[in-house]
Every structure is written in C-alpha cells, then in structure tokens.
Amino acid sequence: MTASEALLLQRFWQGDQASFEALFLTHYPRVYAILFRLVGTREEAEDLAQDVFVQLYRHPLHPSREHNLAAWLYRVAMNLGYNALRSERRLATRRAALAGESNAEAQPASFPDPAAETMRAEERAQVQAVLSQLPPQQAQLLLLRQAGLSYRELAEVLGVAPGSVGTLLARAERAFAAVWEKRSGT
C-alpha cells in the first residue's frame, strides 16, 4: 500500500468522505473485474462490488494497523462472490441472466453474431464448471492470478506464505487441466 493510500485510509477512518471516494475510484474497477470473472454477469458483479465497498464503509480499516487495502477488498469480494454462488436463488438468477445475455439482447454492438455469443456463453459455463470442481482456494488463486494480482497480493488475499504461491499456482493449474481434460474426454 502506498503512503498516500495509508493517509486516505486514516482520513476515512476519521470520517472524511472524500478519502473514501478516492479509495473507491481507485479500487472499484479491479474489484468489479474480479467479481465478474467469478459470477459471470454484469449486474451481479456490480451489486457485489457495491457490497464490498459498503462493507468497507461500515467497517473502516483501523489506521493504527498495517493494511493492504487491495488484498482486503479482494478477499471480501471473493467471500461475497462465493456466498452468492452458493445461494440457490442467486444461482438460478445467474443462469437466467446468462441465458438472457446469450440471446444477444444486451450487447449487440460488441457481439453482433448470436452464434458466436452462444458459443462464448457455453465456453464460459464450461470454464466455470471446471472451476467449481476445484477446491475453493485453487479456483480463487486461478481467478485472481488471471485478474492480474501479483504473488504478493495473492498471498495476502489467500492468507498463504508468499513463497508458496508458485507451488500452489502450479498445483491449481495442473488440477484445472486435469478436470478440463476429464470433462472434455467424457
């Protein structure tokens, strides 16, 4: 965390809303991007990203302790995202939304070809199905790494030693490849 971010956290702790805004604007895009990878729909990723910052708003990080705000946000995002995925209701909504989006009503400019979009939705569902078969830590590691987190950030978010990230990542990739292969082969 940069010195200026520590200062923003301290000011926010003291009630300064402008500091909260600055922190939000800095971190929101990546929090959203991570959640989108996890839940797969824009609407739900937006809702959950909002929830992450509502948690920060209600529970400001104490300035006397050293915090990695980004790691905290990603950890909360992962927890909220997985809770949402676990919920049957959300799951049903998500499926409906995915099906709806695959009907090409939402983004005609980006995906003019309905067939291509359907294929894309199927591929996504396949990747998510593979991830759901991995232990949560492995799935999270893959998603967060894919979203561009450094090993140090990954270690903080997942609560593991930085030196073990390479090993865990290689293991998660091997597990992913194995499940993928098994699914493709059947």
Partner: protein, 389 residues
Amino acid sequence: MSREDGLLRAYLDHELPPGEHAALDAHLATCRVCQSRLEELAAQATLVGNRLAILEPTGAEVAPSARQAWAHLQHRVAAMRRAEFTWRERLDTTMTKLFTGRWRPVLVGLAALVLIVTLFSLEPVQVAANQFLGVFRVRKFAVISLDPAQVQRLRDLEASVGASQGFPFGETKTLKEPGKPQMVASVDEARAYSGFPVRLPGLLPPGVDGPPVLRVQDAGAGQMTVDRAKAQALLDAIGRSDLQIPAALDGATIEFTFPKSVIADYSGPVGLHLIQVPGPSVNLPPGVDLAQLGEIGLQAVGMSRDEARRMAGAIDWHNTLVIPLPSDMASFQEVSVDGVTGILISTRPQANRRSQVSHSLMWAKNGIVYNLTGRSDPANLLAAANSLK
C-alpha cells in the same frame, strides 16, 4: 508436486527475487531436466490462462465507469443512514426487549449472547483442560461499546435472516415454546405460577402510577447446532472474513433455557417496566473455552484483536451476560443497586428525535436477574429498584 515446480512457476511469472531469478537462469542453462519441466509448466500455464481468459469482461460487460458506480454507492449509503435513524428510534425499547416476555426477543437476546459468548471457537489445545459440560448462567453483566458501523451491520443481518429463521449461524430447534404471557391478579399468584419469589418496588418514581399489570411468561428452551459454513457466512456478512471458524465447532450443539419470568408494567407519564427472571442458562458442548470464544465474538462485534483479548481476559464468562451497546446511542455506568453491583444504561438524546431519554437498570441478586426500565431520572429509578420487596 515438488517445490521446484513452485520455483519454476514463479520464475515464469518473474516473481522470484532478482538473485534467485538469476541463479535459476544459470541453472536452467545447464540442466535439461529443469528446462523440460519449465516448458511443461509454461504450456500448462498457457493452456489454463487461455481457458480462463474467456471469463474476462468484454464489450458491455466491462465495468461501468467508477464515477457512475460511486454515484450509485452514495445512494445506498444515504439509504443506510436513513435506516440507521429509524433504528435509533427503536433503541428505547431495546433494553426492554432483551428480557421482554416474547419469544422472538428472547431468541434475539440469546442470539446476541450466544453470538458473543460462545459462537466462534473451539480451541483444540483447550479441550484437554475442559472435558466437562460447561454451564453458563447469568449472574453478572458486562457492557461493551459497539462501533455504530458494526451495529448497522448486525442490524442488517438481523433483518436479512428474519426472526423466523432463528440463529443465523446454525440450525435451531425449539425444545419448549414459551407461549403467550399469562396475566395474573396478584404478586402471590405470580409467585405461585413462576416458582420464585417475586418482588415489586415499594417506592414508585414521580409520574409512575400503580398498581402494575402483572404477567408471567412461561419458560422456553431451545437448541442450536452450529453450522460452520453458515457461521462463516455470517462473519463474512459482518465484514470479518478475516476471522476463521475452526472446523471442530461444526455440528456442536448448544442448549439454552429461559426460565419463567414475571413482567410488571406500570402506567403513568414516565412509565416503568420491571422484568425478573431466574438467570437464563446456556449449556455448552464439552471443550468449549468461553474466554477464547468471547475473544473471537468480541472481535466479531468490532473490537481489535488486542482490545478483545484484554476484555475477554477480564470477564468471568461463565456467569456474565455481555450486553453489546451502540456507543453513539447509549451510555452505561456501574451502579450500586439493591445491595449489589449493577449496570445503568441510558439512551443518548438524539437530535430531532421525538423519543425521550430512557434509563434501564440491570442487576442480578440471589439468582434472579432484574431489569427495570423507565423514563424517570436515574436517581428515581435507583430509588425504586432499591425499594424492591
């Protein structure tokens, strides 16, 4: 998988410290086995990366502008603040509810109690020293100040789980439904029905009219089986994803009983409400270390690790009802009442609120817990409490 795979994987991502990277470079130049393994890992990483790339948001899925999202968040924050004010208005009745004769508040009160005292930890190292059934019985009170932000989160949580679903961190079973409070005609009848010596104030504060309406609430009992996944979700929901529930707690059963209670309601401009009940008790599974549970519970309600440790060490958890109090809504002090030490809780005056300041006394004597609440000033309330007979 060997550690070497981890080193090679980190090497691929340029995540090794410079010295280690250079050393591995040199090693790879001469070691064909490691070169070959590196290629395999690189191929695997590429394959997985390509598959995962499909999850990236594109086109209309890309994040809305952070500015737009910020505007949306501001609306939510404003709504939260409005809800908080509504909740403040309800606080006047909170203390009353803690011991009032309805099942739901009993459940909520005990939920708060169990949340704080017993919820979150079973420390394996403590098991050997605690191979007995721990019995928790209320004899004393301790008040902890809650961060208002945390209060809001707990309130949201209560709203989201709803009363009918009981504890948000496990499965509950009502062992005995207490039913509706029964009105009784006299103190003697209340005593006969409740089975404990019922006392009433001999001296009423100005603005309080007697005689009281007396009701007896039958006993209730319930049982909760901890569901670790639900409890962890609860911690996540209140923003404490950093606290971890030990696997050993999963499936633990906690039983609680709430004995018959007697409620006396006085009318008059300032009103007076007296509840007396033999100390509610909670039976814990073997091996539960209350101080450690308390420490985690205190963190869950917003304390820092150090504060929680200090506080947990100072509380006699086996006998103390811990009352979480929002620091911006009420204050508390220890007082001498009815010959013992009790707690006086006073709501803070709220700007632009119609509600008046109220005070609530809580104390325990001879195994009976008393709660006396009213809008009288504290001196008059204390005088009434001291006149119980």
